[in-house]
Symmetry: C2
Subunit: 281 residues, 2 copies
């Protein structure tokens, strides 16, 4: 699999790159960013995958996430994919909706038409992208972790829950924890997967935990001034599920914070330290 | 003077705000951002002014500058104005040039028409804006400093050199140090001030130093992969001027860095620590 370099910039002693490749899964060009901190020649570094939220591309976190300083200090590679396929012929015009289609892939493999051909973000982030990263960057594939924001928090939680042992840490900023129970999720899972709600459970963190999925622990931050908190995010549902399942959940209510990158960037270094403790021990 | 709040977001325990006001100097609405870290009620904090480069607004550094963590730690207010007047009737279409007119005020008071009415960025950043900030934010006006990038580095250096005693620290990322001698500066100073090169000397850091202006010290970083280094920036001219004038200059050549915010954000915390040592001692 070949990749094309869109740009590289030195930052915090490492290299922030943006890359493009022809994706087998989405049948489109996909763009992603990778930060590789300074490291000894031949070293293999732990890798953190960051899944972004609705409307975002790789660029939002790359520009506003304030992760490079911590990644440089902790020796972490940071990978940020796009949130959906894009390009000519891809269904889902963002002019029609910000919460479905382009910029809103919801980290599932669509089964409904006309989305099934391109909207394969689950396979993209769990299979194609990690292989590509392993081929082209100095990662230690035994030391992976995942985090995300909002829709990407949903992605990070479900990916970790369904790959026990693969991700040494999982955390989220303001995640959608129970998409089957909230408007964004009902629209997306219904639109991509159809009306059989049984099929949604594999893409719902709370349902996965209810159905027996386990992780060694989770870190979740949310802001109590988040405009989406009570209708779309509902962290209390994750809290109840984790308590019943004895999953150690560190759930932090951050006073005065909203849903934006001002919130994410504030706690990014904290999350990366939490990941590093589990990746580099 | 009244200001209108465009947005506020909690970040790193403080408040990142964006504000708008009707400027007396530019005869336009001007937008600026202010970060106020968490502080004790009634406290007055030191304030750092950041002047941005060509094509930028307040938003570039506000989103990509990675200054809030350091400002929160050091107790610094951070103010970022726009780089030119904008709006209906303001001459200087950015479609015509990225390096003159909109987004390229060069921190001078224009004397040539049609720019003289609106392009008064010198008076705006040295007089109107500090007064406005002093009225609306908890700043200690006895503890101000200034820094900037590229065109804004030129602004920071010239503003500090012409206000001995007012700014306790001045620093720059990849500044234009001698606009009278480089294409960007010759175009801008000629366009705003006319062909009398004597009038340019008050807006040229190297010329100001040659003419006797002094500051207690300067910190300047530049990247050796900066595409504008040899034609537009020419830090060696500042080095020679400072040596002759016995101005302590810390001039750092940063290997592999370019002209972007990836460079600025890497060294931002360093600069803010250098400012804090001089502002909070």
């Amino acid at each position: 699999m070949t990749i094309q370099t869109v740009s590289t910039n030195k930052a915090h002693d490492g290299i922030q790159g943006v890359y493009r490749h022809a994706s087998r899964e989405t049948q489109t060009e996909m763009t992603f960013s990778v930060y590789v901190p300074q490291h000894n020649a031949g070293a293999k570094l732990p890798v953190v995958y960051y899944l972004s939220g609705l409307t975002c591309t790789h660029a939002n976190v790359t520009e506003k996430g304030e992760f490079r300083s911590a990644c440089a200090e902790l020796g972490l590679i940071f990978v940020a994919p796009d949130t959906s396929p894009r390009g000519e012929g891809v269904p889902g015009d963002p002019a029609n909706a910000y919460d479905f289609g382009l910029g809103a892939g919801f980290y599932v493999d669509a089964t409904r038409e006309p989305f099934a051909r391109n909207y394969r973000m689950w396979s993209y982030v769990t299979d194609e992208l990690p292989k590509l990263i392993g081929e082209h960057f100095p990662v230690d594939s035994a030391r992976q972790s995942i985090l995300g924001h909002s829709m990407g928090g949903h992605g990070a939680l479900t990916v970790a829950l369904r790959h026990p042992g693969r991700y040494r840490a999982a955390s989220a900023f303001a995640p959608i924890v129970a998409p089957s129970q909230v408007p964004w999720g009902i629209k997306a899972l219904g639109g991509y997967l159809g009306s059989d709600r049984q099929a949604w459970r594999k893409h719902d963190a709370v349902a996965l935990i209810e159905d027996g999925a386990r992780v060694p622990g989770l870190l979740v931050d949310y802001g109590d001034a988040d405009q989406f908190l009570t209708e779309q995010l509902r962290p209390e549902l994750l809290q109840v599920a984790c308590e019943k399942a004895n999953i150690p959940l560190t759930l932090r209510r951050q006073s005065g914070y909203d849903h934006s990158y001002y919130f994410i960037s504030t706690f990014m270094a904290d999350h990366l330290r939490w990941h590093a403790e589990r990746l580099t021990g």
